[in-house]
């Protein structure tokens, strides 16, 4: 069956207020063989037929006339930046005109306008009547021509008051379309959502089932079942062969996969296909069953969707939903079905009930599905009420493991303060604050992996040597917590951190670092290093040193705290010298095991702590000698770059002013390591 073709015209606002998001808009991807046209508005130049024929319609620029997308056209749009405020009504009229001129009204074709704008600029006053009249006229015309409209309205933050009036007026105009014509308006308020709302691929709807929803043998409702969600898989890549000689222009470079079936004991013998039989495992036994035997034993069920009954919605926990979700809509155009579904759905919603169904989607299949039907009441006048359908597990699919009750871990119960900190934390990290739209709503959140892939694909097609692009900010927001929220509520997060203590279990094997500390993500802290390498910069870990009196060693986790704790110990004077000694060897260990400078940051921290400690305890020599030793040892090695780093971090020798025992003047101390290099002893 030939699929329904779709003709689309994208009307893209490129006016000044849209400039910031144009790179995102440019990532539209079209399906092959769709009919696509692109119209820009808010441009400096004007290029459209209406302007030539009747005048007006300035700053509307037809970038691409309607035509079939062939692969060469699949370029990421490079949108010019317009300089005029865009008038979306003009753009709609131009787009409509293009569709009307191009297609015979009898042609079976879905016609659709996609408007992408922020609708922040005033539309022009019409020659006659009001703006609303004009919008209604256009809407009626669209209806008559069977053209639908999709608006994607992007508003990042609210603008000044003077603009508010225009915005309200524009919203009113756009609402005329959704009332009078087939129109769908989506508001988004972040670039992440914008990316999500621009869907990469349009899917041709195919029903899973058309037929009766049987409440009983006498009462049936005609329904169609579609998929509501379905995982969009990573594209299947083909294997490439570079065996063919380069001059062979007609080489397919494809790879064939060949399978050979051999007897395990006798690998030289190949078994032909007709001699193979499928074996089914049953415990250690393998039962051979031929395809025909199998076919004969198989049950063939009648296609049907039957009601088993209604039950309290709370009887079915959310986590029992097994698969992607289907939607049951009443047979289109069938008023009786629409009303019957509406009555059931509304009654279920009101009484908080769900329906349990038994479904066999296709005639003769052996598989039965039991699932739950939940109401989906429509808020739009033009869309009938419907049901969502989720598959439930069978008894065999559930593993009833027993877990100890959380309240029985007497040693792990949070105390009141901790619980309060957790409550505050949960409230603070709310993604649905009142003045914004819900953040990271699945409906408007794109798949970052797919987005990355298509971006990389485009880059590679232009330059085969290009590297994988970094996640841009709009995608990063999907994988990382929102920095704004966290930094705005620093006190709550800090309090939360302080309340809880985490400790490595010493009995267990040493963990690789990444397993337990916040590992920096590749994207934001590239310089820090790869996992598994010795130290890291992030000292903001929750790990608190053991009570200071007990510290006897400088550990790898919190060397600075350990050092400070040891220096503070007063029970014996040996601790000070031990701390200094250990810190020195730790720093040397850090640097000597450093890979491409990954541990420099930590070493600097330790060095600063050591310097402060030595000043405090009036041991300047310990520090000065150590520093000079380091210079002597490393000035000619690849660690020289660490030495050059020190002045910028204010690590100098300790001068007389800081500690009386030092024999260096301030100037001499500051000059380090330059002094040292000039006059090597």
């Amino acid at each position: 069956m030939a699929r329904n073709k779709e003709a689309m015209i994208f009307l893209i606002d490129v006016g000044p207020s849209m400039h910031s998001v144009l790179p995102e808009v440019g990532k539209l991807i079209f399906a092959k063989s769709d009919l696509v046209g692109i119209v820009l508005f808010g441009t400096k130049d004007t290029n459209n037929e209406l302007e030539k024929e009747v005048g007006g319609y300035e700053h509307v620029f037809v970038l691409r006339d309607i035509g079939v997308v062939d692969e060469a056209d699949l370029e990421t749009l490079n949108l010019p930046r317009g300089t005029f405020p865009g008038d979306f009504l003009d753009a709609i009229v131009v787009g409509m005109d293009m569709l009307i001129k191009k297609f015979n009204p009898k042609e079976k074709l879905k016609k659709c306008l996609h408007l992408i704008t922020n609708a922040q600029c005033a539309t022009k006053e019409p020659y006659e009547g009001t703006k609303v009249d004009q919008a209604v006229t256009i809407a009626h015309q669209m209806n008559a021509q069977g053209i639908s409209l999709n608006c994607l309205i992007f508003r990042e933050k609210l603008w000044g008051v003077e603009n508010q009036q225009v915005i309200d007026e524009n919203d009113k105009l756009l609402n005329q379309f959704s009332q009078q014509a087939v129109a769908n308006i989506v508001h988004v308020d972040s670039t992440t959502s914008l990316l999500g709302a621009i869907k990469a691929r349009r899917i041709n709807p195919v029903t899973i089932f058309r037929g009766d929803l049987e409440l009983s043998s006498t009462m049936k409702i005609k329904v169609w079942v579609y998929k509501k969600t379905a995982e969009e898989k990573f594209p299947t890549l083909k294997k490439y062969s570079d065996e063919a000689p380069t001059r062979d222009k007609y080489a397919t470079h494809e790879v064939k996969v060949d399978f050979e079936y051999k007897i395990m004991e006798d690998p030289d013998k190949i078994v032909p296909p007709e001699q193979r039989i499928k074996g089914y495992r049953y415990g250690p036994q393998v039962v051979p069953i031929s395809a025909s035997e199998w076919e004969a034993a198989k049950v063939k069920l009648k296609k049907s969707v039957k009601l088993l009954g209604f039950t309290k919605a709370s009887n079915i926990s959310r986590h029992y939903y097994m698969k992607d979700v289907n939607i049951f809509i009443p047979e289109p155009g069938n008023t009786k079905a629409i009303i019957a579904v509406s009555a059931l759905a509304r009654a279920m919603q009101e009484k908080n009930r769900s329906a349990i169904l038994r479904c066999v989607w296709r005639e003769g299949q052996g598989k039965v599905v039991v699932g739950v039907l939940t109401p989906n009441l429509s808020s739009v006048d033009k869309i009938p009420d419907s049901f969502y359908f989720n598959v439930l597990p069978f008894a065999e699919d559930v593993r009833e493991f027993q877990f100890p009750s959380l309240s029985k871990f007497s040693s792990c119960q949070p105390d009141e303060k901790q619980q309060e900190a957790a409550d505050d934390f949960v409230k603070m990290l709310d993604l649905t604050s009142s003045n914004r739209k819900e953040l990271l709503q699945p409906e408007y959140t794109p798949n970052p992996v797919l987005a990355q892939f298509y971006r990389f694909l485009d880059l590679k097609s232009k330059d085969p040597g290009s590297d994988i692009p970094e996640l841009d900010n709009s995608l990063k927001k999907i994988a990382e917590p929102d920095f704004d929220i966290l930094s705005r509520n620093k006190s709550i997060t800090n309090h939360f951190e302080k309340q809880f203590e985490l400790k490595e279990n010493s009995k267990k094997r040493k963990l690789s670092r990444h397993a337990w500390r916040g590992k920096p993500s590749v994207s934001d802290e590239k310089e820090v290093g790869k996992e598994g390498e010795v130290p890291e910069t992030q000292s903001a870990s929750l790990v608190k040193a053991l009570p200071s009196t007990n510290v006897e060693k400088i550990g790898d986790l919190n060397p600075v705290q350990d050092f400070e704790a040891m220096m503070k110990r007063r029970d014996s004077s040996k601790w000070t010298s031990k701390a200094i000694k250990e810190m020195k060897s730790y720093i040397i260990y850090l640097l000597e095991n450093s890979f491409e400078g990954h541990s420099y940051q930590k070493a600097i921290e330790c060095l600063i702590a050591l310097r402060e400690g030595c000043i405090l305890e009036q041991e300047p020599r310990e520090f000065n000698d150590f520093l000079l030793d380091m210079c002597k040892k490393w000035s000619k090695t690849d660690l020289a770059d660490f030495l050059s780093l020190m002045p910028s971090k204010n690590i100098t020798l300790i001068s007389k002013i800081e500690a009386a025992d030092s024999d260096l003047t301030e100037a001499a101390a500051k000059n380090f390591p330059a002094t040292f290099n000039e006059s090597p002893d």
């Binding site: 193979r276 074996g279 009555a343 509304r346 969502y388």
Partner: protein, 629 residues
């Protein structure tokens, strides 16, 4: 030999496999020690006396059930069935009072076979004659059947290394004081040696589990002996004690649940905020059970086949070694990727699980679902304090009615997930829902379809049900009410049949076992008068009085009246007429069919109601087949 031939064709087969299967790196070796003393043959005291059966029966029933699910789900697990306090003895050590039950072609500790399950489930009929029951610890004798049983079990579990297998001894008994009949020094000595035996087993990495059977008037008292043997203290003791076993069914449920060893899928690091990461274990509580993997066999010898996959260059026919590069067609060119680049693209985040924020629970819609959920439970094994943070957040989420949104990144898939706190639900049959969090995999915008809008009405608003109609629907709902519906109540009919068939073939049985599809609606219930009336009322309310009649008329009109059918009929008539002009027999005999045009050939096909698709050759062969040539 586990190769699934279909699996190889999938490009990234590992991703799905990883998701559906728990890592089977560790297999479970279990010895079931079943007390067969006369006390076990006492009837379970049920208050209503409606149910009866002995303790022994309960145990046999539960074990048979768990074996049946094990043979389907857990192919590699091995099990030994061992009775103690028996008259006869059968064990490698030749110890008194211990009988290891087995069937042919099977080691004592081995995978369960169809035959084992069959014979074990009917063992009660022959038990008294063949094995016999008697107390194994009696005054005047130095026999210690419990000690012997532990010894036998431990010897059986010598198999397999402790690294790759989890080893368990499960003791089923209703005797809380096994040495009650003994006195004095002999008693103390017996207790000491038995405890020592248990200790030895534990040192070898074997875990001891007790499945106590209590009764209403006599609670199973762990502190008499078993607490010390298993090594329970304080808190644990409370967890261990089963709730009062009031009903036989409940007792069975509890036993059955405890027989399974819970297996984690993996341990995840859950980053709460920068610098705080806790650890959680994930468990696959709900996964579709599929008919087991198939293996290709040589039909002559029934020997398993090995599948060898080789990559061949389509241009030169050369064998390709190593992993070839991948390409994707884009803008008329082939864009090449290395395998490493693809895996780098897929790795969006370095974190296993990273908290993004919280949302009210009603933001989680019914259609925000893609896969079965995963259960997460905290662990302090590597980071002490994880459980405390987890519990604090879990309580806040329950109390504030929020779920957590997090980003879940693995090598094969990166998804937004909702973490929904689950309160513990307990009834007399034990734990129904464990406390913890369920991880629900959310769709991205790419995965959500706006199916509602496919058929958006062009003109006026669509009709909605009136209050009266809604009320009739409510009345109907009240009539067809499944009060105690539980998702566990249906067995998968397709799977049951599949394994029923395998069992018949594996055991060479003749008859297909009777098979009931539990998922069919209750026709009798629906025919009840009140239900019938509610249905009729609703039908009249939404469809009007004469619906059935209208429907028949409509169907009739459709059958004759529609333009398409009329057209089709016309063509068929014409084709029959045209077809009659040819002498098909003759044409076919003389091989002249190929001289006709495709249009002419189609006359015959249409006239005889055959498919008209395909190339000319296909059409000719179809005609010949139809004529029986």
């Amino acid at each position: 030999m586990d190769l699934d031939p279909e699996g190889i064709f999938r490009d990234d087969s590992d991703s799905d496999a990883e998701f559906h299967e728990e890592k089977e790196a560790t297999k479970d070796l279990a010895v079931y020690l079943i007390d067969a003393s006369p006390k076990m043959f006492a009837p379970v005291t049920a208050p209503d006396n409606a149910e009866n059966g002995t303790y022994f029966h309960v145990v046999i029933d539960c074990i048979s059930q768990s074996l049946k699910s094990q043979i389907i789900n857990r192919l590699n697990d091995e099990v030994a069935l061992c009775f103690f306090n028996t008259k006869e003895k059968k064990n490698l050590q030749d110890l008194n009072g211990v009988y290891v039950f087995n069937v042919e072609e099977r080691d004592f500790l081995d995978q369960p076979t169809a035959k084992l399950i069959k014979e074990f489930s009917s063992i009660e009929n022959i038990f008294m004659n063949n094995i016999g029951s008697r107390y194994g610890i009696l005054p005047g004798s130095r026999d210690n059947s419990l000690y012997n049983a532990l010894w036998v079990a431990q010897a059986l579990l010598r198999k397999g290394s402790a690294k790759t297998a989890s080893k368990r001894i499960l003791i089923f008994t209703n005797e809380d004081d096994p040495f009650g009949s003994m006195t004095g020094a002999i008693k103390a000595d017996m207790i000491r040696t038995t405890l020592q035996r248990a200790e030895d087993a534990k040192d070898l990495g074997i875990s001891l589990e007790l499945l106590p059977l209590g009764s209403l008037d006599e609670e199973f008292n762990l502190s008499k002996f078993y607490a010390e043997m298993i090594g329970l203290e304080g808190d644990e003791l409370v967890q261990y004690l089963p709730s009062a076993n009031e009903k036989l069914m409940d007792m069975k449920d509890q036993l059955r649940k405890r027989i399974f060893n819970k297996r984690k899928v993996r341990t995840l690091t859950f980053s709460i905020i920068n610098g705080i990461s806790i650890q959680v274990n994930t468990y696959a509580l709900i996964r579709p059970t599929l008919p087991g993997a198939t293996i290709w066999l040589d039909s002559v010898t029934n020997l398993p086949l090995k599948i060898e996959k080789s990559l061949i260059c389509a241009d030169t026919g050369a064998l390709i070694e190593g992993r070839p590069k991948l390409f994707h067609s884009y803008k008329n060119q082939r864009v090449l990727f290395s395998v490493d680049q693809i895996s780098e693209i897929k790795k969006v985040s370095n974190y296993h699980l990273r908290l993004l924020g919280f949302k009210p629970i009603d933001c989680l819609k019914d259609y925000h679902n893609l896969r079965p959920s995963t259960f997460i439970f905290p662990t302090d094994e590597e980071i002490i304090g994880s459980t405390r943070i987890f519990i604090a957040l879990y309580r806040s989420m329950l109390h504030l009615k929020r779920f957590a949104l997090a980003f879940y990144g693995s090598s094969s898939s990166s998804r937004l997930v909702a973490l929904v706190a689950q309160d513990e639900i307990v009834n007399s049959g034990g734990q129904l829902e464990p406390a913890g969090m369920h991880m629900i995999y959310l769709p991205y915008s790419d995965d959500i379809r706006d199916a509602e809008q496919y058929h958006i009405s062009v003109d006026a608003a669509v009709p909605r049900a009136s209050d009266d109609q809604i009320q009739k629907a409510s009345a109907l709902m009240k009539q067809i009410n499944l009060e105690n519906f539980s998702v566990l109540q249906f067995a998968n009919p397709a799977l049951q049949r599949h394994y029923g068939l395998l069992q018949v073939l594996a055991l060479d049985e003749d008859e297909m076992p009777d098979f009931k599809d539990e998922t069919l609606p209750d026709e009798k219930g629906l025919a009840r008068r009140t239900v019938f009336h509610a249905l009729e009322d609703f039908k009249v309310a939404v469809y009007g009085q004469n619906h059935d009649q209208e429907e028949t008329e409509h169907m009739a009109a459709k059958a004759s009246g529609s333009e398409a059918t009329r057209k089709r009929k016309m063509i068929a008539n014409k084709a029959t007429g045209e077809s009659a002009k040819y002498d098909w027999e003759d044409l076919a005999e003389n091989g002249k069919l190929k001289d006709l045009t495709v249009v002419e050939l189609k006359f015959y096909l249409t006239a005889h109601n055959l498919p008209v698709t395909g190339k000319k050759d296909a059409l000719i062969s179809r005609i010949l087949t139809h004529m029986g040539k």
